[in-house]
């Protein structure tokens, strides 16, 4: 009770002194007792330095100068002026060396004045544990292929405080990287060695992806933290240089291959003559000095003797169905001479050459049809003889391929060579007959058997003055049903003796004129 009375007396005395004597002693006019709570205080840890800032609720009041004092509640300490925060113009103060404990409750007292007028007298309570804002450090990021470098900018040195003291103690730095909604956190312990620019590498990242990074300070005791704005970077694609090198190598290879293919194709085309044809032809194909008419000359025609062919028209005897007379064969067999040396069974040839070595009568019972004047149908021999002189100069060629000429030569059954110029040389009948020997008849006509199968008679053209070679068969009567009289092929003619027997009558079987 006595103690309480003494305490009250002491308070009244101090208040009296403060109000009346204080101003004369230099104490601020404003007193803590008259202070109010017109300021909003905020504490921010910036670069590991606690910065106390204040803002007036009444913004219309703008003091020119500020003075900051402080005290703590755990001890009965006096209000102390914060070093470097007297008559400051900015509404903030660095309290690094004044405020060192996180667990304390600090009482800041701000007096704002303009001149000698006190405009602001505010006091507040600040607990670093609850209210200190951890401002993140400045940083930059650099993206690479599969990692990001986070360059953190810390102060060059930490505040020098007694061990165990300092508001930045037991802090850790959290680095978060985010990509496509996935966030990874990296924690860095901060101690006295964390000074200056510090580079942290975030590795094991996916190339060609967009990553965003944010940093913030973290403490187990401190609840208020401030996250930095996200900074993003897109990583480089993996093996970008390799891909570009491979692309260039691939392009060169492609060009080389294409050039090789094109060159090979051109070479092949040139070889086969599709392109770049030679303008230099071989000599044999050089027709510059050659006459336009390049056809070779025809070989000279074989000299062919022009012979007069006498048609022998035989009257076809119609069988009257009488079997009385059998003298037909005799009559037929017997040659019937006619005037002028014509035979009925032979091909009378009048040689123009008197010295014909041989002659042959065209004989045989066979009838040789004239092929020189082909008709639509084989016609019976006319009764009249149409003579046609086949004048041969003695050069017969059975299969003479030479050109017609009036050259005198020898007769040949199958003579393919040129006729010789021997006049009157008649070739031996390759199929001699008994009566094949030439017989001269008046009028220099030689009669001989000729195998028409081996006779090649050429009809001279109209310019020839000689009589056209017309094969005329002797006229004779032939039974209609006599198979031997029919115009047979050459297979019947040559070797038949019967034919020889009838050779002097006319043209036997198998004789034909070509």
């Amino acid at each position: 009770m006595l103690w309480a009375r003494r305490a009250v007396a002491i308070r009244l005395a101090s208040l009296y002194l403060m109000v009346h004597v204080g101003p004369s002693l230099g104490a601020p006019q404003a007193s803590l007792a008259s202070s109010d709570e017109s300021c909003i205080f905020s504490l921010t840890l910036r670069n590991f330095r606690p910065i106390l800032s204040w803002e007036l609720k009444n913004r219309s009041i703008v003091p020119a100068h500020y003075t900051l004092r402080h005290t703590i509640m755990s001890k009965g300490a006096d209000l102390e002026l914060v070093p470097g925060c007297a008559n400051i113009t900015r509404p903030s103060c660095d309290v690094t060396h004044a405020w060192r404990s996180l667990v304390e409750m600090y009482l800041p007292w701000v007096i704002g004045s303009r001149g000698s007028t006190t405009l602001v007298n505010c006091v507040g309570k600040v607990s670093p544990v609850l209210e200190m804002i951890l401002e993140p450090p400045e940083f930059e990021i650099v993206g690479f292929v599969d990692h990001i470098n986070v360059i953190l900018k810390f102060p060059p040195s930490l505040p020098k405080l007694p061990p165990g003291e300092g508001l930045w103690l037991r802090l850790s730095l959290a680095i978060e990287e985010e990509s496509e909604g996935i966030v990874r956190q990296h924690l860095l312990k901060i101690d006295e060695r964390t000074t200056g620019n510090f580079t942290y590498v975030i590795d094991k990242l996916i190339p060609n992806m967009n990553y965003c990074v944010s940093v913030y300070l973290k403490s187990e005791n401190l609840s208020k933290l401030l996250r930095s704005p996200w900074k993003c970077a897109r990583l480089l694609p993996r093996a970008e240089s390799v891909s570009s090198e491979s692309a260039s190598i691939g392009a060169l290879m492609s060009l080389f291959v294409m050039a090789a293919v094109v060159g090979g194709a051109l070479t092949v085309l040139k070889r086969i003559g599709y392109i770049c044809l030679r303008s230099k032809f071989p000599k044999v194909l050089n027709f510059d000095g050659v006459a336009i008419w390049a056809f070779p000359k025809l070989p000279p025609l074989e000299a062919v003797a022009v012979a007069e062919v006498i048609h022998i028209h035989r009257k076809r005897k119609v069988w009257d169905y009488s079997y009385d007379d059998e003298s037909d064969g005799d009559e037929e067999a017997a040659p019937r001479a006619s005037g002028g040396g014509y035979t009925l069974h032979g091909l009378a040839v009048r040689a123009l050459c008197p010295e014909s070595p041989s002659s042959a009568t065209l004989g045989g019972s066979e009838e040789a049809e004239s092929l020189m004047a082909p008709g639509p149908e084989p016609e019976p021999w006319p009764a009249e003889r149409t003579s046609g002189a086949y004048e041969g100069k003695g050069a017969w060629g059975a299969q003479c391929t030479s050109g017609a000429s009036e050259e005198e030569g020898t007769w040949g059954a199958q003579h393919t060579s040129e006729a010789s110029e021997e006049e009157g040389t008649w070739p031996a009948d390759p199929f001699p007959r008994e009566d094949s020997g030439p017989t001269k008849s008046p009028g220099d006509r030689i009669f001989f058997n000729v195998d028409l199968n081996s006779v090649l008679v050429r009809v001279p053209d109209g310019d020839d003055s000689e009589a056209p070679a017309v094969v005329c068969l002797p006229e004779e009567t032939v039974d209609s049903d006599d198979p031997e009289d029919s115009a047979s092929g050459p297979e019947d003619a040559p070797s038949d003796e019967n034919d020889t027997a009838r050779s002097d009558v006319g043209i036997g079987n198998g004789y034909m004129m070509r």
Binding site: R11, L32, A33, S35, E37, T71, M73, S74, K75, G76, L102, V103, E104, M105, L107, W109, V123, G124, K125, S127, V129, L130, G164, E220, N221, S223
Partner: protein, 186 residues
Amino acid sequence: MTNRCTLQLTVLLCLTGAALSVNYGKLRFKLRSSNSACQTLLWQLITSPQHCLDDRMDFQIPRQVEQPQQFQKEEAMVVMYEMLQQIHTIFRRSFSNAGWNETIVEKLLEELDDQMDCLETALEEIKQEGKFPWENRTALRLKTYYLGILQYLKAKFYGRCAWTVVQVEIFRNVSFLNGLIGALQD
């Protein structure tokens, strides 16, 4: 057969030990979150401390509490439990003081109870493990410390500034508890 039984017993003991062992990670999380809530509630209780500068008192909390790094986790738990228990006792005496927000006080007491419940479970486990620190001097010093707080209140006739000073001191205690929670490492 003998080896089989031995193996089964070993597995059983391991499982039992795993079940009975304290999950310090979970305990830390729960204590820290509750402690943060207590700080916020106390801060709301403290109003205009600048008017009670004259009632300020240095109650001299044990220095070991200010430097919790030296504690083993079992000692830290014991210390924490003692502090929580004393704080709870102090604030139970404040119901009679008018002017306080009773809702805040009730919430504060609930948070303190939750923390004590978690610590009791853990302390039972370490007691069964035989690791209970029976002779903990810090705990005894805390008892003296909190007795002085109670005597201050009594002397101050449980005045408003006395209570403000005590609130501020308890606020500091809760901050020290955060340090002690950090000592509960596996």
